[in-house]
Amino acid sequence: MSLGDVLGLFNYWMVIVLMMTGLYIVVSRGNLVKKIVGLNIFQTSVFLLYISMGKVSGGTAPILTGKPEVYSNPLPHVLILTAIVVGVAMTALGLALVVRIKNAYGSIEEDEIQKMDLAAESEAEPTGHQR
């Protein structure tokens, strides 16, 4: 593990730290909006990982200038461009679900929603298998 190795890899390690922060927010926090924000952090750090892989040192943006130059790899850029827009579409859908959950349960905290669900189930049980 020479210094050159560390310098060449610390980009990826920092991005992994960001990914894990996002994952931790999703897993450990009960508020639904905060979970969606954590998911966004996770997504953005995955994009940074891909674009870091596509960079060529001494290269420039992949737009032809007429002069012979070294270009960064355009393929990760294309994939991540589509991924960003799909990500926002997914965020919009998730937020619409949160609004509906708030309308139905009156709360967006996961613990309270689970309690309400369990209470509704235990209320339904004494009446037997009535459909």
Binding site: F47, G54, P62, L93
Partner: protein, 329 residues
């Protein structure tokens, strides 16, 4: 040396922002910090030579996402309740996953290595063949619209489906237009004047980005988002009723479908000339002219769908049953 320092500083910024988002319990600060996160990552993307991606991340992540999250906050809660579950298990899981991922990166090619496997397969062909086969300077647009046109068609359909999903989820609770001239910001004179001045240039800039995507950073996605941003700022400052009169929900839904139809239709037109689906060389006298026309049409289709999805999603969120009176502002 300077490059590495800038990289490290920006990544440190991102880590600090992510930790702040973790610790804050006021949801408004969390949403604002996520906008900051998107902006700083857009800066980092420019530094990594991904200008198209940075453009999209700034417009989409820092613009539309923040607006939608704030609209959700207005309809739900303001604070995060303290969680009663233990934090130990998630921490352990996340730590172990992080260690496994770091172990996985030890085999990866070093950052910036020109001989990495990702640069050897199709990418050199795209870079060298774009000038002759397609004839436009922006390689990313050429790959997006022509070489990988199927992916982009699928993804436009995904955005279309998400827009329909949001409309299905929220359409039942949208309040009817009352017909009254209720505006949200009657006494905010500065905002109204500046918005009136700026909406024209914003729309012009959206059209510029749309059609200039062949020659510089730009294209359908970014242009669609900027186009929608102009209508969203109009709706924010002059009221949802005024915006719905200017661009009715029916028209937005028509544009939503027309964009995907245009993209798919360009492929079908190639059939009639005896070529494969989405083979743009069938559309013009020479192969390159056909490529230009094909890319123009499909990018326009993408722009239409993206802008219509953003506008209709905002209408659905802002039109929920919570009319806010002027004195509440």
């Amino acid at each position: 040396m300077i490059d590495t320092t800038i990289n490290f500083a920006l990544l440190l910024f991102l880590a600090a922002t992510a930790f702040s988002i973790l610790r804050r319990t006021t949801l408004f600060s969390v949403v604002m910090l996520s906008g900051v996160f998107s902006f700083v990552s857009a800066t980092l993307l420019v530094h990594l030579d991904a200008v198209d991606v940075a453009f999209t991340e700034a417009a989409v992540g820092a613009g539309i996402s923040t607006v939608l999250m704030l609209s959700t906050l207005a309809l739900t809660a303001r604070h995060e309740a303290p969680s009663s579950r233990s934090r130990a298990l998630p921490l352990i899981v996340v730590f172990l996953t992080g260690l496994a991922l770091i172990y996985g990166t030890l085999d990866m090619p070093r950052f910036g290595d020109p001989s990495a496997p990702v640069h050897t397969h199709v990418a050199p062909r795209y870079i060298t063949a774009t000038a002759t086969e397609i004839g436009i300077p922006n390689i990313v647009t050429a790959v997006l619209a022509s070489y990988r046109g199927f992916d982009t068609l699928g993804e436009t359909t995904v955005i279309f489906t998400a827009g329909i999903g949001v409309l299905l989820l929220l359409a039942g609770t949208i309040r009817e237009p009352t017909g009254l001239r209720i505006t949200a910001m009657d006494h905010h004179l500065v905002l109204r004047v500046v918005t009136k001045v700026l909406i024209g240039p914003i729309l012009l800039f959206a059209l510029y980005v749309q059609f200039h995507g062949d020659y510089g950073p730009g294209g359908g996605f970014q242009a669609g988002v900027i186009f929608a941003a102009a209508f969203i700022i109009y709706a924010l400052v002059f009221g949802l009723e005024a915006a719905r009169r200017a661009v009715p929900g029916r028209a937005v839904r028509w544009i939503l479908a027309a964009g995907v139809l245009l993209y798919g239709g360009v492929g079908v037109v190639s059939f009639f000339f005896g070529k494969n689906y989405l083979d743009y060389s069938a559309l013009g006298a020479t192969a390159t002219a056909g490529q230009h026309l094909g890319i123009l049409l499909v990018e326009f289709g993408v722009g239409m769908t993206v802008s219509a999805v953003m506008v209709s999603t905002y209408y659905a969120f802002a039109g929920q049953n919570r009319p806010i009176g002027d004195e509440e502002w």
